[in-house]
């Protein structure tokens, strides 16, 4: 790549509000790989909560803001399969009958990536310099797996980290039960589902759990901590960028 | 008729305007040509491989297969099967297999016809068999009472090697070729093993309502 790729970072509301260190880890990974990273001011949320609640009008209004904010970049990258999936798979559908926004949505969607798949599939990152000692279990979020084609890429990156021993989570394709507002609206079902996931994670003997989506991570971490587990939960970007000074999710 | 008219009317209204001639032509063409869709590679193998594939597939479903050289050897194979499973030496035959050399087994009580409630063993002929899935094709007809495949607890099927086709599609072609003007039989049963159920705690049990045992006597013709 002769020209440095211009990346618009879609921070995501969960990263912005709950764990900014993930955003900084993403910036570091992208800049280390040669990108020029911008963080458009006008972004807030991808609109998925409204979209999934059936509030199409609000979802479109929010999405329109996102599209305009991210129009001019070579790539749009999000440290989240869920938000990237919203932009990539659902924005074109939201605007499919709109003569102006339809093509714009498709254009932005075509350039939108989840972070780890962007690093591997586009930037071809092969030698991360970070180190992290211990067994790490990687959880595939449903949107990463089924909307964004992310599975091998984060594992390939983790394999580059000195000291990481990767563990497979049994029944790895099963949902963690987060589902956005589902976790509160139908909290008892969500708790049942995350209970199974937490048990599967614990069974690996891993000391650390990572994933590419904060929603899943907060959900599983919440359950693990309630159960008194010592497993440390982080976003995969933190390990990959060698930025693990901040406490893990749910710890101080 | 009102139900029919109302339903078809609603369907047409929901589908909306279309090129009616083209639609009718498309339907007529598909029905006439009945084109094959994708048939798995596995079904397109040579004769010897087909036969072995059929045998191993159906054996995997808890059915058993005995191989004999000629039709005249069938009754002896049936008698041996009954003895092996401590079954009384009696069988109800479909007319299609009644002409086999049952005289060679004088101790075997064989009667021909539809099964009676207490019959333990039914012997019928297959129309064809399908290697791809290890499946027997049994059709109803003058010589094949369909209930003989279902009521007795033990079902023996007489099959000639040459009847084994590769795929379900091959079997349909064979049926079309054999029928002439007769069209479909009342019943075409595709049987891939003995009767089973997993309705109690997902544990597999044989002999739910149909035969508990399925045995194929394969004539290497």
């Amino acid at each position: 790549m002769s020209k440095r790729p211009r990346v618009g970072l879609f921070v995501t509301c969960l990263v912005d509000l709950f764990r900014p260190s993930v955003g900084f880890a993403a910036v570091k990974l992208l800049e280390d790989a040669g990108c020029v990273v911008s963080v458009p001011d006008a972004q807030t949320c991808c609109g998925q909560p409204a979209y999934n609640a059936g509030d199409r009008r609000d979802a479109r209004a929010i999405a329109e803001n996102v599209l305009h904010a991210f129009e001019g970049f070579d790539y749009v990258v999000a440290p989240s399969g869920s938000c990237a999936g919203m932009i990539k798979q659902h924005y074109p559908q939201l605007f499919e009958s709109d003569a102006t926004l339809g093509p714009l949505a498709q254009a932005v969607a075509d350039r939108t990536y989840e972070l780890t798949s962007f690093l591997v599939d586009v930037l071809e990152v092969e030698s991360l310099s970070a180190a992290y000692e211990g067994t790490v279990a990687y959880h595939d979020s449903c949107s990463s797996l089924r909307e964004m084609g992310v599975r091998d890429q984060p594992r390939a990156l983790l394999a580059q980290i000195d000291g990481v021993d990767l563990a497979d989570i049994p029944d790895g394709e099963a949902c963690c039960g987060f589902g956005g507002t589902f976790a509160v609206k139908y909290g008892d079902i969500s708790a049942q589902i995350v209970g199974k996931k937490a048990a599967n994670v614990s069974s690996t003997g891993a000391g650390t759990l990572v994933a590419g989506d904060l929603g899943c991570l907060f959900n599983i971490a919440g359950k693990l901590k309630r159960d008194g587990s010592a497993i440390e939960v982080r976003h995969v970007a933190e390990i990959l960028a060698g930025m693990t000074d901040d406490p893990p999710i749910g710890e101080a | 008729m009102s139900g029919r008219g109302a339903i078809l009317g609603r369907v047409r209204a929901s589908l909306g305007p279309r090129d009616e001639d083209a639609a009718r032509a498309a339907v007529a063409a598909r029905l006439k040509r009945h084109p094959r869709n994708l048939v798995p590679d596995r079904a397109n193998v040579g004769e010897a491989e087909r036969v072995e594939m059929f045998v191993s597939q159906i054996e995997a479903t808890h059915a058993s297969v005995a191989r004999v050289a000629a039709p005249d050897d069938v009754p002896a194979a049936v008698a041996a099967y009954l003895a092996q499973h401590n079954l009384p030496a009696a069988a109800t035959l479909a007319p299609d297999v009644a002409d086999l050399d049952w005289g060679s087994q004088p101790l075997l009580e064989a009667r021909t016809g539809v099964p009676a409630e207490q019959d333990q063993v039914g012997v019928t002929a297959a129309f064809a068999a399908i290697a791809e899935t290890g499946t027997l094709m049994l059709t109803s007809g003058r010589g094949s009472p369909i209930t003989l495949n279902l009521l007795p607890d033990n079902h023996v099927v007489v099959l000639r090697r040459s009847q084994i086709t590769g795929s379900l599609e091959d079997a349909w072609d064979a049926l079309r070729a054999s029928g002439g003007d007769a069209g479909m039989p009342r019943t075409a049963m595709f049987v891939s093993g003995p009767s089973s159920t997993a309705d109690i705690e997902l544990t597999l049990y044989l002999g739910a309502h149909g035969p508990r045992r399925l045995h194929i006597v394969l004539i290497e013709d």
């Binding site: 709950f18 900014p20 949902c175 509160v184 708790a191 | 339903i7 609603r10």
Partner: protein
Amino acid sequence: MQPTSRQFHENVDKALHDADLQTALFRVDKNFTSRRTAAVTAMPEFEALRDDAVRIKDHTLAHLDLYLEKFEENVTANGGQVHWASTPEDARRIILELCQAAGARTVTKGKSMIAEEVALNPFLEANGITPVETDLGEYIIQLADEPPSHIIGPAIHKTKEQVSDLFVAHHEKYGKTKRLTEGVDLVAEAREVLRPRYLEADVGITGANFLIAETGTSVIVTNEGNGDLTQQLPRTHIVIASLEKVVPTLEDASTILRVLARSATGQQMSVYTTFSTGPRRPDDPDGPDSYHVVLVDNGRSKLLGTEFQDILRCIRCGACFNHCPVYASIGGHAYGWVYSGPMGAVLTPTMIGIEEAHHLPSATPFCGRCEAVCPMRIPLPKMMRHWREQAFDKKLDTARQRLAVKAWAWVAQRPALYRRLTGLAVRYLAWRGRPLGRMRDLPFAAGWTDARDLPAPQGQTFAAQWARRRGAKG
């Protein structure tokens, strides 16, 4: 069947605390998923077959009227008769009249979801005709007077002990007084008890997995052979099937059969796949004297051309149930009506209304596994979202939930305000999370915090820190 979908929360609570049900659901989860995976892995052409199956169904739906006409023509040509039922009432009435014309006292039944949908059994009973379920799972729930909890294993929610109890209570009249504990003995007793019922039935009623236009044929798929005994022994065979079961040709049915059993149970083919065309022929030694097909609409014609059309591709394999984390947690009865699992979440509102059934498409994390395993590539989450749009317009959610969604959306469209408000909120939540970095409870979030801690935010937003960093760089 009277729906209880409105009481979804209560149903769910009951299901989550039912230890026997949870054990049964664990077994379903373990069994079916691994079997499907194995079957799919063993067939290299599986994805291409899914594509073929979708094309066949979409083509058929686009020409549904013409294929239904052809189907009727061919049934008639082979000596059978087709009846058209717009509503459940029509279907029940037609079948009752056929049974009465046959002088039926008892009728045997193969497993049929459409028969459940139109509530056939209670109607027959009310009119002095006894329906006898022959599929072992259906027989078990008939004894228990319960609806099915899974479309291919209706009694999977029952333990062996519960089955033993049912048999000892209901088989006494057949002279069976011993309480059996082994599965093999239970199956044998069911076989023994049902055999005379098969033989004495005047009418046999089956569903149909497919109706074939080319030949006027109905197809059933079973492992037990109960459907075959049901449709061959009595003098009258009645098939009840919904409109969208029709496919054009024998070849088309063969293609869809390839993905059906593999998706359902991981088998290549069910033990018995039977194609029935008309009554017995003049030379046939056995078989029914008359053959009737009752086609049921019940709203399906109205789904064509709408955003819900694709649910008409469903072949009732159950794969979506088997891979659904919600179904795995609550089982089928909690959904409150005939159809549960992901396909039930889409289909049920079309039949009993979104007001009654709005929880079904709402109670899902949208994990997407249903769509991933559906042999007919039905976009189930998308259609559930369409239902949520209707529910939102009709204000079926609670006022608080609605307010939360709209408030968030309103603020999210105003970045400057968003920054200020979220900056304050995360400072507060970070403080609440001290000293451990997580909260055990939080107002309005009991759904989360009853069973989980809520990790605290780091305390400042990314936006604020990024702005400072940019400011520092000048």
